[in-house]
Symmetry: D2
């Protein structure tokens, strides 16, 4: 039976927050494993993440959660979450035809490196079915029929709901989502973009990078918002290239960064290390 | 007038430490700016660093320090330090003939990037006098006479004491220090070694790296102990090289890493971000 | 039909080699795509790699090869190889229980990122059979019976010969090979070691790294020789870690480097970019 | 007396160029030290750089140059340069008030790491005079008077001509140059921009980076053209940052990248490793 929990919170930054939170945990037989905090001077907002275990004299998770809500959280008008690490988050992955990111995520999932449930993989193409089948994960093929993207999206959403998806990962899903769907998944839909944003938004970023002659190419994982490729950045990485790399070589080299960056971002997210701060993120690594 | 302080502490890891420290600060009108902690599961030791400002209703720094010592610190048997950030630490730099690290540190000192006092630079060679003079820093030339290293060291120590040196930086000082001197500066003497330790200890590490054919070379900043190049590592960095790099090219390329790594390590140290943990360090970056 | 070839050579470094090689190719209707060379001043040895295509007026690959051998190669006493890029090299992978490197290599193989044939995967454990089967690659299980390692090795060698293996990759194969087997595969057996060599040779390098408190961990791909973890290094990479990483966390973080480094080293090798230079390598990237 | 030369060239890519160049050098008692080439498939343009020494039976540098021009270079309609490495290129540095890049370049100049002559440093502010004086380099203060930038530029150009500047380095020179001046220095004026271009062009890039919440910041060295911050990129580097970095912290962290990137770009340039290819560069490192 688990007794390992993660508390995340944000609120207006005033004196006494850490003392109140740490005091509350100590009074309730909580033992802090790891704690991090950040006060943003530009907004006056305070962010905190605390991992703790509960001892035998605690009132139990449910009671603790209730007490925290009416007590400390209420007092400081906090936005907060309290997560039980024994419950694996349900992550649905959306893909199109590219296999590298999906292969990487499924491998990490199967070895336990990513402690998640994957109720299903959804795709607008049928190409990656076999891979999912091998990992014993339901593959749901939802094509765009007659160009009706909204109808396709409606079906996708239905499956996300059925799957009780807490997190949605766009692992090179080659469709721009409608504002309606995006808003339903605000703060929990992660996209991998194959450039070092804000450079090279939109289509064919490796070709854009080739044309500009940059000496490093990158990948960016970010939360999806309605401004294309402009959501809060979670993680980025770059890799050195040179004049001899064709656009195709950039695509090949970049794939490794895409996999790494997406896997890291998802790991930070499910470990509750990422707190959204306006159009930016606080990442407690 | 300053009211910005840094508390660092370590003690046996039990429940309630964060609550006690944060509670103490809140009760004494302290406002936490930044806080980090680490419990080492392999040793059961707890480490914490907290930056805070004092408000107008506080009892003042001296009284606060006294109260913390007899109260929280005593209760948890802490090793602790409480530093006033308005007082710049006194850093003495020891050099021989190589100029790059000294030039880098003095530049950072003069621009305020490294908020330190440099009461003097001490050297066993006279080569770098002019550079120090330009930066208006006393240069003290203490050669080894007739091979009597201990006599030279005794003079060095005398000057360190006169200078009230809190930190000693060996910026490519090409002398092995005696155990006696090392022990007097335990935990506050930083050396830069021009390899990625533990590879290539001792003399001519770039030539060792060349002979081994490594594809990355590095630099390591560490606290000096009596085991040569085996003290607690503070910071490391590497840079890519290839077969075409001669030993001389490795020396040239490596210099940039040496400067960067030493400057970072010193910055972490003077910001009280480095806590020694046996033969390792905790670095709260 | 292919007409894309790679010439690699090494010889004593004297004047006129590039002119002779380039002249030979031009006279034989060869068009140079890419060329690199290196003269090692410490040994007086010259290394060269040239990619070229043959035009319609050439004498054809077989005749060209014969002419080069009796002409330029003979004149300069070259060690040389001339490879037809349309023929995929046959690579046999040896594994034990760890899946990450194998999974990565098979993925790259299946997408064409690594243009190789994999006649079989050989293992001393049966754990990774299913993965190979999915990729439609024969999996050959050769356990060590009654501790008789040489008998097991003899069977491994038999299968390597049957498979006509040109390259052997030890993808976390947890067995030290006997001198006899090593010498049979000199210069074409690549191992991945999970440390930044020469640091942390031998067993449990991540635990060694944890104990030393290094701030970067790494991985090294090298040719296998009879000196354990001391063969010519092909490629290395590092990744930043800190005090909070447990040995298990280092293992998890390090896996990504292992995969990347091994895949890069194998790619360089099969593209004939790696030339052995004593106990070092020349890598024409 | 020197006999070490560097030939750089570009021309339409057809068969036989390497053979012709290497053959020419061999016939004239040249010994190739290092050679690199690149054929750009997107433009059909060929680029080559060859370092060589001349032996005792050669016709001498001047005659060789003449012969090459009327022979090989003419035959292939090459753009070409033949440089004598014993003649240090004359580099004029333009600065405003920021000292870090200038300090870094002058240090490298004084240690011989950058084998250049610096006939003078020119600035629109008087702040950095003392530093130049210490390095015994004439400091020329040319302020903008009454907002007349063209008049100031005219004086700058006069001094560049008097100084016989072959290379001009804008080491954080905070003035946009007029098209007229830019065109006079085409392909030999290097600027350091304090962002990872093409992201964050123009003013205050670190503040732009802060606002966007990127996880890596960078620096870019490029040739100056009349499209602001859009000239051919020579070198780039990035460094990891996080949410806790204020804009001021980004400025401080970024300075190290600026210095490194500018120094590397200048080194590549003076070693004739950079060939302009449209709005991109070929860098033979």
């Amino acid at each position: 039976m688990s007794n390992h929990y993660i508390l995340t919170l944000s609120c207006h930054d005033i004196a006494g927050i850490v003392a109140a939170v740490a005091g509350f945990l100590t009074e309730n037989d909580g033992f802090i494993i790891e704690s991090a905090q950040f006060g943003d001077p530009s907004t006056g907002r305070f962010f905190m993440r605390t991992e703790f275990v509960l001892g035998e004299y605690s009132c139990g998770f449910a009671a603790l959660k209730q007490k925290f809500g009416v007590g400390v959280a209420h007092h400081f008008s906090m936005e907060w979450q309290l997560a039980d690490t024994s419950i694996k988050p349900r992550v649905v992955i959306l893909v199109s035809k590219y296999r590298h990111c999906l292969n990487d995520l499924l491998h990490r999932y199967s070895t336990g490196a990513l402690p998640i449930e994957i109720p299903c993989v959804i795709s607008n193409h049928d190409d990656l079915r076999e891979l999912c089948t091998w990992y014993k994960i339901p593959f749901i093929y939802i094509p765009v029929v007659n160009g009706d993207k909204l109808a396709q999206e409606a079906k996708v959403w239905e499956h996300l709901e059925q799957a009780q998806a807490e997190v949605v990962v766009l692992a090179r899903y080659m469709q721009v989502l409608s504002p309606g769907l995006v808003s339903k998944m605000a703060g929990r839909c992660i996209n991998i973009h194959h450039s070092f944003l804000p450079s090279f938004k939109g289509a064919r970023p490796y070709h854009q990078a080739y044309d500009r002659g940059v000496k490093l190419i990158g990948a960016t994982a970010h939360y999806v918002t309605n401004a294309l490729d402009e959501g809060p950045i979670i993680e980025q990485e770059v890799v050195r290239v040179d004049h001899s790399n064709s656009p195709e070589a950039l695509v090949a080299v970049g794939r490794d960064s895409e996999c790494l960056v997406l896997a890291r971002a998802l790991k930070y997210h499910i470990e509750h290390r990422v707190l959204v701060n306006g159009n930016k993120t606080v990442v407690f690594r």
